[in-house]
C-alpha cells in the first residue's frame, strides 16, 4: 500500500497545491502553521471535499482524478480519520461510537462491541463504555475518536492533531500506544501535529506545509537540523538566516555579514541554536567572529533558561540563564550585543 497525492484546491484565500507520497507502513507527520491547509488536505484525501485538480492514488487505485471524472466515495476508501473537534456521534454511547466502523463493515454486533471494548481498554477508557460523548472530558473524547478511527484498520489513516487535548500523563501512554499500533501497521499514515516532539516520535518522515505549499520534507532529524523556513526554524528551536555566501562569509539581505566555518557559495540557509548565542553589554572581543548590536524585544522564562528575543540587522533568539539576565540587566528595549561562534553555525544551500 502506498499513497500518492497531488492536491489542488482553492477555498477562500487558501490556494492548496501540494504533492506528497507516503510509502506502505510509513508515518508522515504533516506540520505547518495555522491555516496552512493541513486539515483541508486531510479532508481531500478522505474524499469529503472534492479536488479542483490533481490526483489521489492509494495502493495503485485511483481515488480521485477530477480530469478523468474519478471520485471514489469516502465510504469506499477505507480511510480512517480523527478530526480536530472529534465529532463523536452524540446520540450513541462511547462503545457504539467505537464499534460503529466495524458494524458498518458488517461485523456482528457482539464481535464489534467486544473489539471496541478492547480498544477502549487500550486507550485507558475502561469503564466509560456506556457514557455519551457529552459526558466526556475533552481528552477522553479525543481518545474515543482515536479508537473509533483505528479500529477499522484503514488503509490510509488521517490523524488531525490526535493528541492535542491529552493531559501530560496520558499523552506519552497514548502516544506510545499509537506508535506501537502504527509500527505494526502496513497502511499509510498522515499525522497533523503542532508538537515537534510528536512529529519526531511518530513520524518516519516530515512534510511541512505553508500557505498551501510543501516547503520542506524529509527525515525528522534532517528537517530539525536544517530548517528551510522561519516556521520550521522556530518549531525546532533554531535561529535561521538566509543570505548569499561567498567563501567564508555570507551576506544577509539587511547588509549584515555572517562569518562561516566552512566555504560556501550562492544562496544559503544559516542556522544556529539559541543556546549558542552569547549576549554581552559591549562588543565582545573574544574569538566569536560574529557579533551584532541588537535591541531586546522580549524576555520569556522557559524552563531553566530565559529566552531573549532581540531585533536588529540580524534578529536572533538567545537562551541565557536567569543569572545572566540579572547580571546584564536585560530588559525589553535595552541594547545588547549578540555573538555566535562560526563553528556553531550550520550552513546549507537554500
Amino acid at each position: 500500500m502506498s499513497l500518492d497525492a497531488d492536491l489542488t484546491l482553492r477555498r477562500g484565500d487558501l490556494e492548496l497545491r501540494a504533492g506528497f507520497a507516503v510509502a506502505p507502513g510509513e508515518v508522515v507527520a504533516l506540520l505547518g502553521p495555522n491555516g496552512a491547509g493541513k486539515s483541508t488536505a486531510l479532508q481531500l484525501l478522505a474524499g469529503i471535499l472534492p479536488l479542483d485538480a490533481g490526483r489521489v492514488e492509494l495502493d495503485g487505485v485511483t481515488l480521485d482524478d477530477p480530469a478523468a471524472g474519478v471520485h471514489v466515495r469516502p465510504r469506499d476508501r477505507r480511510v480512517g480519520m480523527v478530526v480536530q473537534d472529534y465529532l463523536l456521534f452524540p446520540k450513541m454511547s462511547v462503545l457504539e461510537n467505537v464499534a460503529f466502523g466495524l458494524r458498518s463493515r458488517g461485523l456482528p454486533r457482539d464481535r464489534a462491541r467486544a473489539e471496541a471494548r478492547d480498544w477502549l481498554v487500550r486507550m485507558g477508557l475502561d469503564g466509560y463504555e456506556r457514557r455519551r460523548p457529552g459526558e466526556l472530558s475533552g481528552g477522553q473524547a479525543q481518545r474515543v475518536a482515536l479508537a473509533r478511527a483505528l479500529i477499522v484498520e484503514p488503509r490510509l489513516l488521517l490523524l488531525d492533531e490526535p493528541l492535542a487535548a491529552l493531559d501530560a500523563g496520558t499523552r506519552p501512554a497514548v502516544r506510545a500506544e499509537l506508535r506501537r499500533h502504527l509500527g505494526g501497521y502496513d497502511g499509510c499514515t498522515l499525522v497533523v501535529t503542532h508538537d515537534p516532539l510528536e512529529a519526531m516520535v511518530l513520524g518516519d518522515r516530515v512534510v511541512v506545509l505553508e500557505r498551501g505549499r510543501v516547503v520542506q520534507h524529509g527525515e525528522p532529524a534532517e528537517v530539525a537540523r536544517r530548517p528551510r523556513t522561519d516556521y520550521v526554524a522556530r518549531l525546532v528551536g533554531l535561529n535561521l538566516l538566509t543570505g548569499t555566501a561567498s567563501g567564508r562569509t555570507a551576506q544577509l539581505p539587511s547588509g549584515a555579514v555572517v562569518a562561516l566555518a566552512h566555504d560556501a557559495t550562492g544562496p544559503v540557509h544559516i542556522a544556529f541554536p539559541p543556546v549558542a548565542v552569547t549576549l554581552s553589554p559591549r562588543r565582545p572581543d573574544g574569538s566569536a567572529r560574529n557579533a551584532w548590536p541588537l535591541v531586546i524585544a522580549d524576555l520569556e522564562a522557559h524552563g531553566d533558561l530565559v529566552r531573549v528575543t532581540a531585533d536588529g540587522a540580524v534578529p536572533v533568539l538567545a537562551d541565557v540563564t536567569p543569572l545572566a539576565v540579572a547580571d546584564l540587566g536585560l530588559e525589553p528595549g535595552g541594547q545588547v550585543w549578540a555573538s555566535v561562534k562560526a563553528s556553531e553555525i550550520s550552513v546549507y544551500p537554500a
Partner: protein, 266 residues
C-alpha cells in the same frame, strides 16, 4: 448537559407576545368548555357511534402518520441532502396539499384514485380494487393532507443538523443507508417527532378531503370530525362541541404523554 442553571427570568419582549399568542390559542377552548352541555356528556360519549368514530379516528390517524413517516422522512432527506435535479420544484409541489382547500383535495383524490380515475381506473380494471369509500381511502386522504407537515418539519431539522457527522460516518465505511439510520436520524429525532405530532394532529382533525374522497359511512369512513359535521347538520351542535372536546382531550392526553416520554428519553 444533563442539568443546568435555569434562568427563570424571561425577557418581556418575549413574554408579552407569547401571552398574547397563548390567549388566541387557548381562549376559544375555554369558550367551548363553557358552552359544553356537561349534563349530557356521559350519554353522548358512551354512545356506540361516538365510540366507533373515535376508534376509527385514532386508528386512521395513527396509520396515516406511520405511512407519512415511512414516505415523508425519506422525501425530506432527498430534499435536504441530495443534489436531485428539480429539487426546488419538488419542494414546492410537496407543500401543495397545505394550500389546497381540503374539499378540493378530496375532489383531486377522486379524480386520481376514484374508480374512473387515472390510477384508480387501472386498479379497478386490473384487480377489481376500488379505493374510495373505504377505510384505506380515509388513510390516503389523511396522508395527502398531513404528510407535508411532516416533510417540512423534518427538512427544517435536517438543515439545522451538522453534516460533518455524516462525513465521519462515511469515512468509517458506513453506507448512506447506515449513516442515515444511525447518525442522521437520531440527530434530527426532535424534528421528526415534532413533524409526526403535527401530522397526527392534522390527520385526526381532517374533514374536507375525507368527506369528499372517502364519504361518511359509519364504521368505515366516518371519523370524529365527520361525526361532528353530521351532528351539526342534524341540528345538534351540542353534540358537535362534545365531540370536539373529546378529540381535544384525546389528542392532548396522547401528545402530552408521548412528548414527556420522548423528551425524557432525549
Amino acid at each position: 448537559m444533563s442539568r443546568r442553571t435555569a434562568d427563570l427570568r424571561v425577557p418581556a419582549a418575549l413574554l408579552i407576545p407569547a401571552a398574547l399568542g397563548v390567549a388566541i390559542l387557548v381562549l376559544p377552548m375555554v369558550g367551548l368548555i363553557a358552552r359544553a352541555p356537561w349534563g349530557d356528556l356521559p350519554s353522548i360519549l358512551t354512545s356506540d357511534e361516538v365510540l366507533t368514530a373515535l376508534r376509527l379516528s385514532l386508528v386512521t390517524a395513527t396509520v396515516a402518520t406511520g405511512v407519512a413517516l415511512v414516505c415523508g422522512v425519506p422525501i425530506a432527506w432527498l430534499l435536504a441532502r441530495t443534489a436531485l435535479p428539480g429539487r426546488s420544484v419538488l419542494r414546492g409541489l410537496v407543500t401543495v396539499p397545505l394550500v389546497l382547500p381540503p374539499v378540493v383535495g378530496g375532489v383531486a383524490l377522486l379524480m386520481v384514485f376514484g374508480r374512473r380515475g387515472l390510477v384508480g381506473g387501472w386498479l379497478y380494471d386490473t384487480f377489481g380494487v376500488s379505493l374510495p369509500f373505504t377505510t384505506e381511502a380515509v388513510v390516503l386522504a389523511q396522508v395527502f393532507v398531513a404528510m407535508p407537515f411532516l416533510i417540512v418539519a423534518v427538512e427544517g431539522a435536517l438543515r439545522t443538523a451538522d453534516r460533518r457527522y455524516e462525513d465521519v460516518a462515511a469515512t468509517l465505511g458506513a453506507t448512506s443507508w447506515t449513516t442515515f439510520r444511525r447518525v442522521t436520524l437520531p440527530a434530527v429525532m426532535p424534528g421528526v417527532l415534532a413533524g409526526a405530532v403535527l401530522c397526527w394532529a392534522r390527520a385526526l382533525g381532517e374533514f374536507g378531503a375525507t368527506v369528499t374522497f372517502a364519504g361518511s359511512f359509519p364504521g368505515t369512513t366516518r371519523t370524529l370530525p365527520l361525526e361532528a359535521y353530521v351532528a351539526i347538520n342534524a341540528g345538534d351542535s351540542d353534540v358537535a362541541i362534545v365531540l370536539s372536546l373529546l378529540m381535544i382531550a384525546v389528542s392532548v392526553t396522547i401528545l402530552i404523554g408521548l412528548r414527556e416520554r420522548w423528551i425524557g428519553a432525549a
